[in-house]
């Protein structure tokens, strides 16, 4: 906690400035009645928190916040308000009293506890001296990935990540059950195809820049995917970035064009397949004599005997860990990307028309 007798360092000033911005945005979101404004503001909120997380040295979390919070959830929320009104109705002040009381009590409880929390970055805080330190000491030896966040998420606590991937799958399943799969868009009368748009010269700048952007976004997604164990990133972030590329295609060239190349059934199937792949890696570990998700036992014994000794580091199979993490990250990537696309299809398939040449 900064004491005001000493001059504030630059980090603290940045912290205070960013947190003040977050506070202002939250009040603005609560006050505005335009849903569009609220969505844009929450997007800005996510973006500023991403910046703040960078200041806190939490690059992986910041990355996720940027792509999920500021990126794809904004697009989906925008898709949702196309289906409803764009203004929320006024709530009589009497009905706001009880929620206000509850929120105040909850906030009070949080502050009450926070005053007793160890200060940020305190090296003697329980979170830093116990498990956190153990991870820093053991990850290099046990797992062998330079990015310790990846080591924790995909190997030490890989079972949680399997659960989180399942949650994503379940969310896509839920949206598909409630809203359908966007099949209405396919049944509609065909809209002008890309070739026709090119002939008539509509939206040239948009189309040309999208054509340049989409491959680059996809390549970036793969970069994030495969460098997850070296730097910030991994299957979650890469999957969302890939989904953004596909959604951008749908926004510019029309939903039908995108659905022709990536049919809704395929997206839905891949979403289940990703979880299956992840759990399958665990089952392979079981059959090879290890515990569930113990990547040391990724390869069968016979195959391992043919490997050079260098893959064994202190009794741990670095190759097994490496390829195990690659495989489960691929599962995460498939599930996240295809679920985001499924959700987008479900909303966009119901919207009047999302593409720029439409009437709605």
């Amino acid at each position: 906690m900064p004491s005001f007798a000493t001059p504030l360092d630059a980090n603290t000033i940045v912290d205070i400035a960013l947190l003040a911005m977050l506070a202002v945005i939250v009040v603005a979101v609560a006050r505005t009645r335009s849903l569009l404004t609220a969505i844009i503001l929450t997007s800005v909120y996510s973006f500023i928190s991403a910046v703040w997380l960078v200041v806190m040295d939490a690059a992986d979390v910041s990355f996720t916040e940027a792509v999920v919070g500021a990126g794809v959830s904004t697009i989906i929320a925008l898709g949702a308000i196309l289906l409803t009104r764009s203004e929320c109705s006024r709530i009589p002040w009497r009905e706001t009293l009880l929620p206000l009381l509850l929120v105040t009590v909850t906030g009070g409880l949080l502050v009450y506890a926070a005053l007793d929390l160890p200060s940020l970055g305190d090296p003697s805080a329980p979170a830093n001296i116990y498990v956190g330190r153990l991870y820093l000491q053991h990850a290099e030896h046990d797992i062998g990935t330079p990015n310790i966040v990846t080591a924790v998420l995909s190997s030490y606590r890989g079972f949680d990540t399997l659960g989180e991937t399942t949650v994503i799958f379940a969310a896509g399943l839920g949206v598909a059950l409630l809203l359908g799969f966007g099949e209405r868009a396919l049944q509609d009368t065909p809209r002008p195809s890309m070739a026709k748009m090119a002939e008539s010269g509509q939206h040239v700048v948009l189309r040309v820049s999208a054509k340049m952007l989409i491959p680059m976004i996809s390549i970036y997604a793969f970069y994030v995917q495969f460098h997850g164990d070296l730097g910030p990133g991994g299957g979650f972030q890469a999957g969302v970035i890939m989904a953004v590329a596909i959604i951008l295609h749908a926004l510019v060239f029309g939903l039908q064009e995108t659905m022709e190349s990536i049919p809704p059934q395929l997206a839905r199937g891949l979403s289940a397949f990703g979880v299956l792949l992840y759990a399958g890696v665990g089952v392979v570990n079981l059959t090879n004599g290890g515990n569930f998700l113990d990547y040391d036992h990724l390869f069968p014994r016979i195959f391992e005997e043919g490997l050079p000794d260098s893959h064994l580091v202190g009794g741990h199979h670095i190759w097994g860990q490496h390829f195990g993490i690659l495989a489960i990250e691929l599962g995460v990537f498939l599930t996240v990307a295809s679920t985001m696309v499924t959700i987008f299809y479900a909303f966009a398939g119901r919207a009047p028309d999302l593409s720029p040449h439409g009437e709605g």
């Binding site: 007793d116 379940a170 839920g174």
Partner: protein, 508 residues
């Protein structure tokens, strides 16, 4: 747990990995159901997946009976570095209950989904159901606080949609309400776990418990406790946080009514007991105060107020839903006594309630697609046209009201005994009054169903055979455990011991 001591359900190689397979089996089945080519194959996958989970739960029961606790390290990393499954008698009891009810619900779903869910969505529906089963089983097996949150989410996220997707349009706002309340509950829970992590530096429950004991007074721990209890209270429909439940259960497709009424709130109750007794421990001041001065009165209020509310409902499923909240009150009353007798009586009651409620919802669901009825008056005289279905319903109702010779009677009796032992005379009074109210709504249902003339000429036929089989298994279980309650009593007593509560008379 003596019943399982010589019980070897699977070869040792499989039994060694029964803990993760308990969860992974239904999880893989869920993916397979989503990818399966037809509704029929999805249904078979669903039945197979739940039977596999039940099998694994039986394997675990044998292991726990022999060794006391089953520990399993995910990824081969021992805690606190990795995630551990830790299954004791309490966990086994819930795993058996959830997977057993899961099998019955899966059998039941074959016929009802065709009537209630749009073609093309049934495979996904089965998939969502299996995800819910996997999530709840994971909850009963995990020994890691954050992993528990993950499974809470796995079991909930799909459920919100599964409730809303049926033919009844009133289910949509109910599902939305449940989504909002459930998400607040889950968020509170994870905030609480975050506080505990900040205070102890670990996420493993056993480790956390050991470190909390040495910590002394900490505001962070107190706030963490408050957030966890309120969050789980929302999920468990603890009075007065139960507002989401009646509509969600009443208007959901019947498969969800059958499965959720028996398992979802119960699993949240399990997690709450886990935190109250294993992680925090009743010796901590604020836990003791909470049990005696918050949980017990609130539980008593639920048992009386919600039983009274159930009397005035016109929709038959809402009667059952309000009765569910009242029964949560009974269970919590037992738990709040913090004695071996009280907790085991509460758990015994929970076991019976799960059997009863799923049987009752199953009987209604089996008929509902014949007669398209929701109101109690629509069921007038159905007892004459569908005697087999409604006899099972009547058995369930008797057990719900606590008529002697049923399991429901025994568990109420044991609750009263425990209340006497704890010198909680007011609790005895609460149970007596609430039971009287229970007799009124049970009598009202039976009177309408059996003794009124049918409203229309359109005769409500018997439920299909595929519905009658699981229905009668559940109804028969209620009678069987009313005559010979050794299995559930054995399970619940061992479960209370696993929570560190020694029975009176035993050496401390």
């Amino acid at each position: 747990m003596n019943a399982f001591i010589d019980f070897y359900a699977a070869p040792p190689g499989l039994t060694a990995h029964a803990a993760p397979l308990l969860v992974i089996g239904p999880l893989i089945a869920a993916c397979a159901a989503a990818l399966s080519p037809s509704t029929r194959s999805a249904w078979m996958i669903s039945v197979g997946g739940t039977i596999f989970a039940f099998w694994m739960a039986l394997c675990l029961a044998g292991e726990v009976a022999r060794n006391g606790v089953v520990n399993y390290y995910m990824g081969g990393f021992a805690p606190p570095l990795g995630i551990a499954f830790r299954i004791d008698a309490l966990g086994v009891m819930f795993a058996l209950l959830i997977s057993g009810i899961g099998v019955m619900a899966a059998l039941f779903s074959g016929h009802t989904l065709e009537a209630e869910i749009m073609k093309g969505k049934r495979r996904l529906y089965q998939s969502g159901f299996l995800l819910c089963v996997a999530g709840l089983l994971g909850l009963s097996a995990t020994g890691d606080a954050f992993n528990a949150f993950v499974f809470l989410e796995v079991s909930s996220i799909g459920t919100y949609a599964l409730i809303g997707v049926g033919v009844d349009r009133r289910a949509l706002p109910a599902a939305f309400n449940y989504l909002v309340m459930g998400t607040i509950g889950a968020t509170f829970f994870v905030i609480g776990v975050g506080f505990l992590y900040a205070a102890t530096g670990t996420l493993n429950m056993a480790d956390m418990s050991g470190r909390l004991a040495t910590l002394g007074d900490s505001r962070v721990v107190e706030a963490g406790f408050a957030f966890i209890v309120i969050g789980l209270g929302l999920k468990a429909a603890m009075f007065p946080l139960h507002g989401w439940l009646p509509a969600a259960y009443a208007y959901a497709p019947s498969l969800m009514g059958v499965f959720l009424s028996a398992t979802a709130t119960k699993a949240a109750l399990y997690l709450m007991a886990r935190f109250l007794f294993t992680v925090f421990g009743p010796h901590l001041d604020f836990v003791g105060l909470f049990l005696t001065w918050v949980m017990a009165p609130v539980a008593g209020a639920a048992a009386i107020i919600c039983s009274a509310q159930a009397i005035f409902q016109t929709d038959i499923r809402r009667i059952l839903a309000f009765s569910s909240v009242a029964q949560v009150g009974y269970i919590m009353l037992g738990v709040s006594m913090a004695s071996a007798e009280g907790v085991s009586a509460g758990l015994f009651h929970l076991f019976n309630q799960a059997l009863i409620k799923s049987a009752l919802f199953m009987a209604l669901g089996g008929l509902a697609f014949n007669i398209k009825a929701t109101k109690l008056s629509d069921f007038s005289g159905v007892g004459r046209t569908a005697p087999w279905t409604m006899t099972a319903f009547a058995i369930g109702t008797f057990s719900l009201a606590g008529v002697p010779l049923t399991a429901g009677f025994l568990s109420k009796w044991r609750l009263i005994e425990a209340a006497f032992a704890a010198h909680w005379l007011w609790a005895v009074g609460v149970i007596a009054v609430s039971s009287l109210l229970g007799l009124i709504y049970a009598g009202r249902m039976l009177e309408t169903i059996f003794f009124r003339a049918p409203v229309s000429e359109e005769r409500a036929g018997e439920a299909r055979f595929g519905v009658l089989v699981p229905l009668w298994i559940l109804a028969a279980a209620s009678v069987w455990y009313g005559l010979d309650a050794s299995l559930p009593v054995d399970l619940s007593t061992a479960a209370a011991q696993a929570l560190g509560l020694a029975p009176a008379g035993a050496a401390p």
